[in-house]
């Protein structure tokens, strides 16, 4: 999902940065508020960020014969919501853009929108909806974490199809032909990784339920 440095025109680079900015600022504000008002949750913010750090560094083989990495945003999205997740994902993406030349500064906004905002937003609402429908914690976590990962890559495919429509002009047909190409590269490869990420977070939430049930009563009940 990392779009290489310089591979979005100034227009798209600017647009996605503008979309990302308010989420990241709001997330930073929320994190500082949690640090002040609920200091016992600090460690959970660190752990949520840590999952993003580890999982987005692991390039895993997929059944399609190519490699990709999970996103790790499920925990942050479920426990703290999309704002905090956008902020935590930004830390990871900046680390990779500056030190690893993976992604870039000009494409940071687009990468934050896909990995830090779109995926986590879907995860957050999926979790809420499933819980409301009385689905078990495990099932709800599984689908939320899976979608957080998968939607990230679908959004990358949308972003690239908008910037590089087939035939050069942004028409519906041009968009769809490029969208198909990028979905084939990103989304298909991502399916087994997203399932694995879902399983991993089910295990972690089962562990969390045993020690932090009171603290996150609303989520873990």
């Amino acid at each position: 999902m990392h779009i290489s440095e310089g591979f979005l025109s100034p227009f798209w680079a600017g647009l996605w940065s503008l979309v990302a900015l308010p989420f990241v600022i709001y997330g930073g504000y929320r994190v500082s508020k949690i640090f002040k008002e609920r200091p016992r949750e600090k460690i959970m913010i660190a752990v949520a960020g840590a999952f993003i750090f580890v999982l987005s560094a692991l390039k895993l083989p997929s059944v399609t014969g190519s490699s990709s990495h999970p996103t790790g945003t499920g925990l942050a999205a479920i426990l703290f919501g999309p704002g905090v997740t956008a902020f935590l994902a930004t830390i990871s993406l900046v680390f990779q853009a500056l030190l690893l030349a993976h992604g870039g500064i000009t494409t940071l906004g687009a990468d934050i929108v896909s990995m830090g905002i779109a995926g986590p937003l879907v995860a957050f609402f999926t979790f809420k909806a499933l819980r409301k429908m009385k689905a078990g914690l495990g099932i709800s976590v599984f689908f939320a974490a899976l979608l957080s990962d998968l939607v990230t890559y679908v959004v990358t495919a949308i972003q690239l199809a908008l910037a590089y429509p087939g035939g050069g002009a942004l028409t519906t047909a041009g968009f769809l032909s490029s969208f198909g190409t990028f979905m084939g590269i990103f989304a298909l490869t991502q399916v087994p990784l997203a399932i694995a990420e879902g399983i991993l977070f089910v295990i972690f939430f089962d562990f969390l339920k045993k020690s932090r049930q009171k603290q996150f009563a609303e989520v873990l009940k």
Binding site: E5, F7, I52, L98, Y164, T181, T189
Partner: protein, 97 residues
């Protein structure tokens, strides 16, 4: 289910491991190139004239790059490991009280 917790966790991790091991077995001749790189190639196929207008300020050499990726994973794994250890110890203390 009546299985102890650690068996369930191990089964979950086992499934994850088998998925990736299976992916390697199914594609023995594949290079397992990164999807991000494939995306970049697809861009250049759709828009062969595109010139990236900005290049990375700094690019690590391949060896340094793998070290930095490992470092990133290690930082994250360290924090998670610390948390799991701390929580497990706390629970044990409470049980023994």
């Amino acid at each position: 289910m009546a299985f102890p917790t650690w068996v369930k966790y191990l089964a979950g991790v086992g499934i994850i491991f088998l998925m990736f091991f299976g992916a390697i077995l199914l594609n023995r001749d594949s290079e397992f190139g990164g999807a991000d790189g494939a995306g970049e190639e697809a861009i250049l196929e759709i828009a062969p004239d595109y010139e990236p207008w900005f290049s990375p300020l700094w690019e690590p050499k391949p060896e340094t790059e793998s070290m930095l990726f490992a470092l990133q994973a290690a930082i994250g794994a360290g924090v998670i490991g610390y948390f799991i250890g701390q929580e497990t110890a706390k629970r044990k203390d409470e049980r023994e009280k």
